[in-house]
């Protein structure tokens, strides 16, 4: 039903080839008179290019696919903005598909929808692929890069913060304020990210001469409820005066749970959050955080895809921004 290049050709009285060229602005191939005729015909027919067909023959696409692990993660918006901006600057279009965070089958389907289509590259947002799905991704001819997640395997291209530093600096922020008994809440010790944050946390503690206690760390999946559960597990008798939370959401979880326990933040308990999204300034008191450069991560991701020569694993800088949740003792 939709008008094709041939319809235009017929209407304008020229060949499809010529139509293609004037529509692609390949001046040097046609005269002004024909150009006009073609434009008019195209307009009249309401022509819309069939990109799929074009990509089929040119064997190259200008769409960049982003696979996101879940709808919930609130920092993703910053990364996506970074991707979007730099992609646009390079004339690329961005499409996003959501993969389930848990279900490997949903993950696989999401992966397939981007792989089976001509995309010029794939960005994976804090996505933990199963081995099979990773293989699937690598089997495709498409360049890819993981974002906001790092791997033990050094061969996987990725851009993320230095998680050890994240853990270290978060903890150090509390140590500098005079805290000694410091918890680590809602980091996932099964992930590379979580293990390194934990290691950084422990190193900071030891460097300050305090020996980590097992019950100071309450693992969890970085979520709001994980934060609440961690704080609930601490209870009021833990003796902790500060806790670093695995994410902003988690921090809000411990904040709210602390309040429910009758604790005042930061008077009774100090909190430093990890991520530094706008959430930090929305809650009361505003969360002190070690902030990641999500926007830059996104931007670096598309550059990585564009210039294959880059180093595989890149690190974006972090900074601690002091707000209202750490009390100096």
């Amino acid at each position: 039903m939709a008008a094709t290049i041939k319809d235009i050709a017929r209407l304008a009285g020229v060949s499809p080839a010529t139509v293609s060229r004037v529509l692609a602005n390949k001046t040097a191939f046609y005269g002004p008179a024909t150009a006009e005729k073609v434009q008019a015909a195209a307009l009249k027919l309401g022509y819309r290019k069939n990109t799929a067909a074009a990509e089929l023959v040119t064997q190259h696409s200008n769409v960049l696919a982003v696979v996101v692990n879940s709808v919930k993660t609130n920092f993703s918006s910053q990364i996506i903005t970074g991707i979007q901006d730099t992609a646009a600057a390079h004339g690329l279009n961005v499409i996003i598909v959501y993969a389930g965070i848990t279900d490997p089958e949903a993950q696989r389907k999401a992966l397939l929808t981007v792989i089976e289509r001509p995309v010029m590259g794939i960005l994976l947002l804090s996505l933990n692929l199963t081995p099979e799905n990773l293989q699937l991704l690598q089997g495709a001819q498409t360049p890819y890069c993981f974002l906001s997640i790092a791997f033990d395997d050094g061969d996987l291209p990725s851009i993320a913060s230095d998680d050890w530093q994240v853990g270290y600096q978060a903890t150090q922020t509390l140590l500098k304020a005079g805290h000694r008994k410091i918890g680590l809440a809602a980091v996932d010790s099964n992930s590379h990210t979580g293990r390194f944050r934990l290691a950084g946390y422990e190193s900071a503690l030891r460097d300050a001469g305090v020996s980590p206690q097992a019950d100071w760390v309450q693992p969890g999946v970085y979520s709001y409820v994980a934060g609440r559960e961690a704080m609930a597990a601490y209870g009021v008798t833990s003796g902790l005066t500060g806790v670093v939370a695995g994410s902003d959401m988690a921090a809000i979880g411990v904040l709210n749970q602390a309040r429910d326990l009758g604790l005042t933040v930061p008077t009774d308990l100090s909190i430093v959050s990890i991520d530094g999204t706008e959430m930090c300034e929305l809650v009361q008191p505003q969360l002190t955080s070690v902030s990641q450069n999500f926007y830059d991560m996104g931007a670096a991701g598309v550059r990585q895809l564009l210039e294959p020569g880059r180093q595989l694993q890149q690190v974006t800088p972090i900074q601690v921004v002091d707000r209202q949740t750490v009390r100096v003792l």
Copy 2:
């Protein structure tokens, strides 16, 4: 470079047609022996189907495109989840593209990337199209539906809440609690949505025998800063005892600004928010809200696309959920 159906055919010693059939599971067209050979060859070659090519010939696609106005809107995640779930149930794949909220050119580009591709339908999330872009959309052969936004023009398919009711019930919630002087903050009076919420607000007031004052309404674009600005404009001397905010974010803005002004919520000021996202339960005190059914909106949207016979403009129910920000006088 990538393996094609012909490569498989050559390797398996059959025709491309047969390969296509076994890969598509068109039993009845091939014997078990050939099937095996083909499967093996496909596996060996790491074959990935070229969906673009397939869609070109079948003239039909199973991807559903969602165009989102901005990364910021936090309720979009619920709608998208609704879309995602029902789409998956119908065997559809979902891709998302972001259009700038302001820039008509970015909007146009986003629209083009979905229109110029074989998609089976387009869902537009609270997107206000320029007339040219609307025309562009309508010119495409693709079915579409607006979500979480309504229009004066009754011909545009859309699914949204009844905005008049939203405004009415939000206001009524405060009236029932004994409030008389009630503000309306951060609704955009340029939009259909905003105008109807305003009308509902005024009707509720009048039905309760209180006549609306011009300085009670402080328009804005539903954002956090719009909320803050509205509250700042009210100041401490307004005499308002309650305000309904245009969105959860806006409500948080008035909440925080009220606090900065030395006001305690809900003791000095009651707030009812519009939207009812999880944000409401994250802040302290938790926001009383008139909640929209975003998930259902998304679900209804994909059904609308699937069954063209449906009525054009649908309304999803709302409910007020009482939390902690309205004080009964």
